[in-house]
Symmetry: C2
Subunit: 333 residues, 2 copies
C-alpha cells in the first residue's frame, strides 16, 4: 500500500467556512482514500457541519482558538501564533503534514508560510503558480503576484520551478517554457526579460524545452505550457483574463435569452451549453501553488465552493505524489 498523504487544512478561511472546507474534504475523500486530513479550526463549528459520510479515521480535528480574517493585514495576521492558518503551516514545518492548504486571506497565508518555512536553496523569491485552461489542456502561469519586482535570476528560477510543477502534475507531458513579453522579436521588452531570455537560451536546462517569448494572446494556445512573468504582470494578466471571460459570458447570456425563441433554443442546446460551461468552470482550475519554499503550499480560491476546494485537495495529492519539491531541487542543481 502507498504511504498515506497527510494534508494540513486550514478550515477557517474563505467564504462559507468551515462548511465548504469539510464538504470539500468529504467529496475529495470519496475519490481518494489514501489521504489523512489534519483539520485546523474551531472544533465546535467544524463538528456542526462535518458530514457523516466522512470516515472518522480519515481525519482529525485540531482545535484552534483564533482565525485569520479576510480583512486582517498580513502582518497583523502573522502576530497570532494560535490561528488555524498559522498552526496548519506549522504542521508542515514540523513534518507532521506533507502539504498545507488554505482558502483564507492570501497575503496573510503567504507571509505566515514565508515566516515558518525555509526557502529552497538557491531560490531567492517565491512565485505563485496558477493553472490556466488552453486549447490542448492546462498550462501553468507564474508568478501571479507573490513577487512584484523580479530579477532575471528570479524569472529563470520561475521557469525551473514551473516546469517541475508541470511535470509533477502531468507526468506524461513535457514542459515547454516561454517568457511572457510584448513581441516575439528578441529586441522587444525590458532589459530583465531580455537577460532572462539570454540565460534560458544559452544554458539549456535538460528538464524543459525553452520556447522563447510569447505574447498575451498566446497564453492559451497550448504551444507552451509553462509561462513565466513577474508577479505584477502575471496578476494583471490573470485578472484581465477573468474579467474578459466574465464579460463575454454575461454578454452571451444576455444575447441568448433575449427573447422567447432565444430562450427556447438555449433550452434545446442545454447539454452543449453545459459542456461549454464546464470547460470554463473556474472550479476546475482552483488552487494556486506557492513555489520556492521547502514545502508545498496551496491556496484555494476564497470565493470558490466545496467542489473547487475538493479540486484544490486533489492538486495537493498530485503535488505530493509527483514529488514536486524534490523535482525542483534536482532541477536547480
Amino acid at each position: 500500500m502507498l504511504k498515506k498523504i497527510t494534508i494540513a487544512v486550514d478550515a477557517m478561511g474563505g467564504d462559507n467556512s468551515p462548511e465548504k472546507i469539510v464538504k470539500g474534504i468529504s467529496l475529495h475523500s470519496e475519490e481518494d482514500q489514501n489521504v489523512h486530513y489534519k483539520i485546523f479550526g474551531d472544533l465546535k463549528k467544524i463538528k456542526e457541519v462535518i458530514p457523516k459520510s466522512l470516515t472518522t479515521n480519515s481525519y482529525e480535528i485540531i482545535h484552534t482558538n483564533d482565525e485569520v480574517k479576510s480583512t486582517d493585514s498580513p502582518l497583523s495576521a502573522a502576530r497570532s501564533k494560535n490561528s488555524s492558518m498559522w498552526l496548519a503551516v506549522d504542521s508542515v514545518q514540523n513534518k507532521e503534514s506533507d502539504i498545507v492548504i488554505s482558502a483564507g486571506n492570501t497575503g496573510a497565508f503567504f507571509v505566515i508560510a514565508k515566516l515558518n518555512l525555509e526557502m529552497i536553496e538557491n531560490i531567492d523569491k517565491p512565485a505563485l503558480a496558477g493553472l490556466w485552461p488552453n486549447k490542448n489542456g492546462i498550462n501553468i502561469v507564474l508568478d501571479l503576484g507573490a513577487s512584484i519586482d523580479c530579477s532575471e535570476k528570479n524569472l529563470v528560477d520561475f521557469g525551473i520551478m514551473g516546469s517541475a510543477l508541470f511535470k509533477a502534475l502531468f507526468p506524461k507531458e513535457d514542459p515547454k517554457v516561454a517568457i511572457l513579453n510584448i513581441g516575439s522579436e528578441e529586441i522587444k521588452g525590458h532589459e530583465i526579460i531580455k537577460n532572462a531570455f539570454e540565460i534560458l537560451n544559452l544554458n539549456r536546462n535538460p528538464n524543459f524545452k525553452f520556447n522563447g517569448y510569447i505574447e498575451g494572446n498566446e497564453i492559451m494556445d497550448g504551444l507552451s505550457n509553462v509561462i513565466i512573468t513577474d508577479g505584477f504582470t502575471g496578476n494583471v494578466a490573470l485578472k484581465t483574463a477573468e474579467g474578459t471571460a466574465n464579460f463575454i459570458t454575461s454578454e452571451l447570456k444576455k444575447a441568448m435569452t433575449n427573447n422567447l425563441l432565444g430562450k427556447l433554443s438555449s433550452i434545446l442546446n442545454i447539454n452543449n451549453l453545459n459542456k461549454f460551461k464546464k470547460r470554463l468552470d473556474p472550479r476546475l482550475y482552483d488552487g494556486a501553488i506557492l513555489l520556492g519554499l521547502d514545502s508545498a503550499v496551496v491556496k484555494s480560491h476564497g470565493s470558490s465552493d466545496y467542489i473547487g476546494f475538493a479540486n484544490s485537495l486533489q492538486l495537493c495529492t498530485k503535488i505530493i505524489s509527483g514529488n514536486l519539491i524534490d523535482k525542483i531541487k534536482q532541477s536547480i542543481d
Copy 2:
C-alpha cells in the same frame, strides 16, 4: 457649412492593401460627406481598386514610389522619405492634413511619427490608447505599448491625455480615470504606481474624476472609463484579453455545434448569436490613437478588413471634431 476634415491616409499598409483601404474610405464617405481624403500610395494599384461609388472630388491620390513592409524594422523603414507612410505623416506636419492614419507596420509608423511631429509641451512620452468594450459602453486603456518604462509623471500624463481623448470621443460623458494595479489597497504595487496615485489624488485635475486603483478584472466593468498603465503591462493585458476572447468563442462554437440538435438550435438562435458576435466584433473597436504628439496619429489594425478601417476613419473624424489636441493642451496647463 462645417470646415472639411482632411485625413492623410497611408494606402499601402496592412493586409489586402490598398484594396481594403479604398473600400474603407468609400464606406466611410457614404456616412460622412465632410471629409477630404489624401490617399498616399501606388497610383496604379490604387486606381485599379478604387470603387466608382467614391465621389471623385472627395479624395486625391498622391503617388508614392516606396512603401513600408510589415517585416521592415522601424529604423530601416524610417530611412526612406518617399514611402506612403512617411509622406502621409509629412502631410500632417505640413498642416496639409488634420490627422494621419495607417494600417501598416506599427513600429515603423510610430518611429516616423515621432521623427516628424513635435511632442506636446510638458509631455515626455507618448502613449498608445485603445478602445475596449465594457458593460456600459466603451472605455480607453493606455498605454498599450508605446512606452515600456514609465515614470509617475508619464502615468499622470497618460491620465490627462486619456481623459481628453475620452471627452473628445464621448462629449456627453465624464472621464473617470483609474490606475491599473494588482489590488485596490494603497500599499499594493510598484513605487511608480503609488507615486502616480499620490499625485492624481492630491492634485485633482478638474477635467476628470480620479477613481484610484482598479484590478485587471475591473477593466470592463464600466465604472472607470480611462485606465492608465505602462506600455508593457497594457500590451500584455490587451493581448491576454484578446486571447481569452478567442479561446472562449472558439470553445463556445465547438460546444454549440457539437451535434445535430446543437446545430439546429443555434440556427434558431442565430439572430441573438449574431447580436452577441456584433457586440464583441473587434472591428468596432478598431483604431488605436498615439497620444502625446502635436497632431493626432491613428493606427488601424493590420489584419482588420475594410469595415474596421472605415471605423478607424470615423475615429479620426471624431478626434478632429472633438478638438483632441487642444483639449490635451488645455488639460496640461
